[in-house]
Point group: C2
Chain length 223, copies 2
């Protein structure tokens, strides 16, 4: 355990790695998983890049932050690179996740297959509505928010997903921080603030639609 930790720390200086590179690691991982499912065992930086719209140089440069993964005359061995990227992202460890807010979005995420596939398991859900507390949704127990601290401890949960209404998001985030949470993904459509010691990613589901309208509008005009 301590040896694995040491290898991890030796191979990465996280301060030197741009966020966009880490984001692209996730995309490479998805594409490699897709290649493996389609029955191939190896791939190349140009194949990997072309499916995702990046140059082969970009792919090689991104991966070079973390080590040397290609084999001469072979390219990348998919399964080997999948395991390396999962180790870099930390998802090989398997993460129990808390979900706060069992509305429609919370329920959707409880049933979202894409989490399990990548090494995340929503282990406990929380809400303040008594009618929801004690229910099992998609096999996950719903607790009252007042039980947050003890349940996080019991399941060794270090990361949480916020799916409460925008008006409650900051208060919930503060409670998570008080309970020692280390990372938060916020799906509520509002910006929240956390101490620098806690990792935070805000998800804004309208951004993807804006990227689409940008390209539709400009595609139309260029005809």
């Amino acid at each position: 355990m301590s040896r694995a930790k040491k290898n991890r720390a030796e191979s990465i200086d996280p301060q030197s790695i741009p966020k966009a590179v880490v984001n692209r690691l996730s995309l490479y991982l998805r594409e490699l998983q897709h290649v493996v499912r389609s029955g191939r065992e190896t791939t190349s930086s140009s194949r990997l890049g072309s499916r995702l719209g990046f140059t082969d140089a970009q792919v090689r440069k991104d991966l070079a932050y973390f080590g040397q993964f290609g084999h001469p005359g072979v390219g990348y061995r998919c399964q080997e690179l999948i395991e390396a990227i999962r180790r870099i992202l930390g998802t090989d460890l398997g993460w129990p996740v808390a979900l706060i807010g069992v509305g429609n979005l919370g329920r959707a995420l409880l049933g979202y297959r894409g989490f399990n596939r990548q090494g995340f398991r929503i282990t406990a859900a929380f809400d303040v509505e008594q009618a929801k507390v004690g229910a099992q949704i998609e096999g996950v127990e719903v607790y009252h928010l007042d039980q947050l601290e003890q349940v996080l401890l019991k399941h060794a949960i270090r990361v949480a997903v916020i799916t409460v209404p925008a008006t409650a998001a900051q208060e919930v985030a503060d409670r998570l921080v008080d309970c020692g949470i280390e990372g938060v993904v916020n799906f509520a459509p509002v910006t929240i603030s956390l101490p620098d010691s806690v990792s935070l990613v805000g998800v804004d589901l309208a951004i993807e639609l804006e990227q689409i309208t940008f390209s539709v509008v400009n595609r139309t005009n260029s005809r």
Copy 2:
């Protein structure tokens, strides 16, 4: 109308603009909206950048793709820059959106306030389950997928959101293309293929969690 289109086309050469820049425009827009809600009328590239973790030079360079927005001695007038960015992204036009797949995720998106706020209105929902067809959810009518073409035409819908199970996503996407859709946001946890003439963004909700675990793992090791 034609004059507005002309201005749009003159000011932007979309081929020359990296996707990451367009993505950051959305982030600037959110932050500017936040500044306005907090009661301030102007901001600067360094203020705008610091809240988002970018340098002021990055902010200025990104915006320079689209024109000159700062005022000497003032900085950015927030409302003016908000309107400019919405015009660039095309969201000032107001977009009716079709949603395909009224499961948990579909229902969540039908109630997601973040869409309306940015100029999107889900106008029609589709499913293949007869029990859902004819229902009104969050004020949106659910049609059978067989009515896709006529409903898209009737409401002049050019962009769609896919929230069906992974196994049905490609088939639904193909049907949307046959009906003349111009842009698709795919929330199904699977990669789909579309002709180059149709804009496509895939949303993978696990990617944000991976970014969190990367920083939690590396933060822990660096202690």
